[in-house]
Amino acid sequence: MKKKHVSPWVAVGVVLVTVFAVLCLLPLIYMVAVSFTDSETLYIKLKDLRPSLYNYWYAIVKRDFGTALKNSIIVVVGSCLLVNVASSMAAYGFEKKPVPGKEALFQGYLATMMIPGQVILIPMFVMINRAGLTNTYSALILPMVGAFGIFLMRQFMVAVPNELLEAAEIDGCGEMRRFTTIVIPLVQPALITLTIFTFNAAWNNFLWPLIINTRSEMRVLPVAMSTLASNSTTNYGMVMAGATLTFLFPFILYIFLQRQFVEGIALGGVKG
């Protein structure tokens, strides 16, 4: 075996990166640790830690975190489905169909990506309110469709060979079947990427649901989290239990779909 020579600089670098990784994790470890205490002071001593789920029970049962969790999951699943379907359809239309004026429209779409959320917040509030869509899931799901998804999917549509589609057409394969059985499987990685981005956006969305869904039974997790924190400023254990719950679901997904997460983000980044 060849003996590898490790320079001291590399060793220092390894230590630094390790320290950074620990710093990344530390707040989350702290969050979980505090969520298991019932003291109102922050000085955590080992004897204060107890394997009691009281804080979690309190947050879920007494503070309706269960409902918020359900709402968040509904919104996330709905958003992912809608965004994936609408974006891949649009991307297919843009890339593979001779629609007149499509390039101009596409450029227009790209321009909307520059628009800060605050610009459209107020009119959106007015419109949704007029339409009587406040306190509905639709109010949170429908606006999730945006230019980013269409742009991302189109980047991948380019790679779908036209010959393949033409051959299928000659074989008598119908329009819908071509789309669902040939195109969709070929752009699968992009769909996963888009799902992850949409998931992240929908799960963490705060200001919009805060304003538009005022009923407590329609609250999503970040909003429930925020009310929990301002309602009980001194009960740190319970607040941290709420934060842990908010974190838990994406974290479990991340553990299982880690490769897809990281690859998806990288793909979105490099292609975007």
């Binding site: 670098g13 990166v17 950074f20 710093l23 990344c24 530390l26 707040p27 702290y30 505090v34 002071t41 922050l42 000085y43 609408a86 359809m89 297919y92 239309g93 169909k97 001779p98 629609v99 007149p100 429209l105 779409y109 909307t112 520059m114 628009i115 800060p116 605050q118 610009v119 459209i120 917040l121 107020i122 009119p123 007015v126 419109m127 429908l142 606006p143 469709v145 945006g146 789309f179 963490n204 705060f206 200001l207 970040p222 909003v223 989290m225 924190a229 740190y236 941290m240 934060a243 908010t246 974190f247 994406p250 974290f251 991340y254 990281v262 983000i265 990288a266 793909l267 980044g269 490099v270």
Partner: protein, 302 residues
């Protein structure tokens, strides 16, 4: 005659049919985009010329809102805070993620390295509100984790969020903590895309890792850097959740940001027209930054 027309335009009935099918594919997202992305911009522009508190119909007041923007001290302060915030977050998160990605790609291509990458990515999936809450508690002057540590070192506790000098950087630190992993992953993928023969050739040439970094890796990563900086600036310019949850704009007005001010003008002061004028200005500023930045990067490309 119809055939003649379509011949003239070079379009067969088949093409037309295809165009229709294509339009059908585009339609669902087109409708949603029109309703939720395009119409609101025009409405916003319209409101910005009116006095509007949502209970009565908007009243046209011309350029009044825009004229009032110029002597609004709160707005100037929030703009300068936002710029400071961008200047803190964007360079640090870009450099940090770049260095870590390149280092792991060059020297830690093993299981430990990939484990560290996974760990560094974790803050990305924490929601901003949960991050704000956790860090708020960590920053507590009495007994928060950071001050416990400072006390352990024998230093005096610091009121991170309660002091004018430290409030904004403390908020920015959370943003950096949350974003670095995200950009690191993108950079890492970029480094891995560097053709291996290019790197090997450089190694054979005896280039040191620092030289390789400056002369090979960095230039290749330029498009990614461009994108990351753009995303970073746009994201940081719109910072809201962290400020809302961590400081509420205080102490004083030291963490008022543009996005926070728009929220405050609209939903606290019920001045929707005025807030819309600020929002439109924000849009113009962001477009200008984008323009300047793309010119700058193009020039360097040439």
């Amino acid at each position: 005659m119809p055939t003649a027309v379509s011949l003239k335009k070079g379009k067969s009935p088949r093409t037309r049919r295809q165009a229709l099918i294509g339009a059908a594919y585009i339609a669902p997202s087109f409708i949603l985009m029109m309703i939720f992305n395009v119409t609101p911009i025009f409405l916003s522009a319209f409101y910005s010329f009116t006095k509007y508190n949502m209970t009565a119909a908007p009243v046209w007041i011309g350029l009044d809102n825009y004229a009032r923007l110029f002597n609004n001290k709160v707005l100037t302060e929030s703009l300068s805070n936002t710029v400071r915030y961008v200047l803190i977050t964007v360079p640090s998160q870009t450099v940090l993620s770049l260095l870590i990605a390149v280092f792991i790609a060059e020297h830690m291509k093993n299981r430990y390295g990939s484990f560290l990458r996974s760990v560094i990515f974790i803050p990305v999936i924490v929601s901003l509100i949960a991050s704000a809450t956790v860090w708020n508690i960590m920053y507590q002057p009495k007994g928060g984790l950071i001050n416990q540590f400072l006390e352990f070192l024998g230093a005096k506790p610091v009121n991170f969020l309660g002091k004018k000098s430290s409030a904004l950087p403390s908020v920015a630190a959370v943003a950096i903590w949350k974003a670095s992993g995200y950009y690191m992953v993108i950079y890492y993928a970029g480094v891995m895309n560097v053709p291996s023969d290019v790197r090997e050739a450089a190694i054979v040439d005896g280039a040191s890792s620092v030289q390789r970094f400056w002369h090979i890796t960095l230039p290749i990563l330029k498009p990614i850097t461009y994108m990351i900086v753009t995303l970073g600036i746009i994201g940081s310019f719109q910072v809201f959740d962290l400020v809302y949850k961590m400081t509420g704009g205080g102490p004083g007005r030291s963490t008022y940001t543009v996005a926070y001010v728009i929220y405050a003008f609209a939903f606290q002061d019920k001045n929707y027209g005025y807030a819309s004028a600020v929002a439109i200005c924000l849009l113009i500023v962001i477009l200008m930054i984008h323009l300047i930045q793309s010119l700058f990067f193009k020039e360097k490309d040439a």
